[in-house]
């Protein structure tokens, strides 16, 4: 098979668009189902995310007068493209893609693009709720991003590499980073909840306060792309943490199986967290971010560096 065909396969099918797309749908369904069960309900059937997506794609696409049409059309695609690119760089079940030293930094950079697009979408679609939601998403970004980066940086330092694949591989020789850096893992999980704007940190899209936040004015195709990009972010975020903290696919016999099991475990933790707490206020989140999470992450980092030196 020619090289370009293989590259195309990787790009479109595995671990590219097709795989991430299926994972996104599956993750959304599992998440909704688990949350529903925890709330004493049944939850949606397995095809629900797909039906929602197709329905939105086939719906009329309208924007209010005065909104920036070009930006509103491009932003969801930018968000989706960034997430997809990040997805290509993350090792999945033992398959090591375009791995290079420092790809962790690139992935982290790519993963912050959706938040920026989200903020701009809120600002440019001129609804009041969008503007407030956009501002909040930016504030939230500053609250979780620093502790999140520090926690992830800790894994790079302890495993002596800035390549996600090497970090994962190293752990199969030693132990899971989660066991060495429990505090770092906790901070990273909380940071991920903030990054994904999931309950209880769904502040930028708090339904009872500002309707649907930055996405209030989006409909049809654009909304579908936003939702898809949100779900893919969940997938990429979870895969990233599996690689960094849970030893990736590990050196066991069935790498795919162990990878999936670990990913589902993290997803379950996210779902449980989303039903257990009331939504925080944005200033409370900033407080938590800077007064609790950041010092904890810093402490973890210092301990790691000190132990490394010793």
């Amino acid at each position: 098979m020619p090289d370009w065909l293989i590259a195309l396969f990787h790009l479109l099918v595995f671990p590219g668009f097709g795989f991430l797309f299926l994972c996104a749908l599956a993750f959304q369904w599992i998440d909704r189902r688990v949350a529903a069960r925890l709330q004493g309900r049944v939850g949606p059937p397995w095809f629900q995310p797909l039906a929602d997506l197709i329905k939105l794609l086939a719906k009329e696409d309208i924007l209010p007068v005065g909104a920036d049409e070009l930006a509103c059309a491009v932003l969801p695609m930018v968000s989706l493209a960034a997430v997809l690119t990040a997805g290509l760089l993350i090792p999945v079940s033992g398959w090591k893609p375009n791995s290079f030293e420092g790809d962790l930094v690139v992935v982290l950079f790519l993963l912050s693009i959706p938040m920026l697009a989200y903020f701009l979408a809120g600002w440019l679609s001129i609804s009041v709720y969008s503007v407030v939601g956009g501002n909040r998403s930016l504030l939230q970004y500053f609250a979780y991003e620093v502790p999140f980066l520090m926690a992830l940086g800790g894994t790079a330092i302890v495993n002596g590499s800035w390549s996600i694949a090497s970090i994962a591989a190293r752990q199969s020789q030693t132990v899971w980073t989660m066991l060495m850096q429990p505090v770092g893992f906790l901070v990273a999980m909380i940071g991920l909840i903030g990054k994904l704007k999931r309950a209880p940190f769904d502040i930028p899209k708090a339904k009872s306060e500002i309707s649907a936040g930055p996405l209030t004015e989006f409909s049809g195709r654009k909304l579908a792309l936003w939702y898809l990009s949100r779900d893919m972010q969940t997938v990429v975020g979870v895969f990233l943490l599996v690689n960094l903290f849970l030893g990736g696919s590990g050196a066991m016999l069935l790498p795919a199986l162990s990878f999936v099991a670990k990913a589902l475990l993290l997803l379950l933790m996210l779902s449980v967290a989303s039903v257990l707490y009331a939504r925080l206020r944005i200033d409370q989140l900033v407080d938590v971010g800077w007064k609790v999470l950041a010092p904890l992450a810093l402490l973890q980092l210092l301990v790691t560096v000190w132990m490394g030196v010793g």
Binding site: A36, V42, A58, K59, I62, L215
Partner: protein, 140 residues
Amino acid sequence: MWESVVRWARRKSPWVLHFNTGGCNGCDIEILDLLTPRYDVERLGILKEASPRHADILLCTGPVTRQSRDRLRRIYEQMPAPKWVMAIGSCGCSGGVFHGGYNVLGGIDQVLPVDIYVPGCPCRPEAIIAGIAQLLDMVE
């Protein structure tokens, strides 16, 4: 082919928006009740949306009062096509017990094209689900 897939998706994913045009709360709490464990309409794909831009079906309760008429029309216009309107409760169907009041214009159909009428004062949650199901059969 694509057409039939879209039709299937529309039937499986009706997102609703709720607007009270002058009702007494009775039907409104029954609509909210749909989301809760006993009825749990999420298993039928029904979600209650916050923004008119995201919704497929407009659930209207209550008779239309003078002050809410323009707002009702505007919400309908904000919804992307294809969209449907359901009049929930006897008041929404005809003005009900408030018929003849000086501030009441009558049922929802005085202002919007209504696709499904769900009578009852207040109508039971089961009736609302049945109404949505009938509406989706019409989509077919």
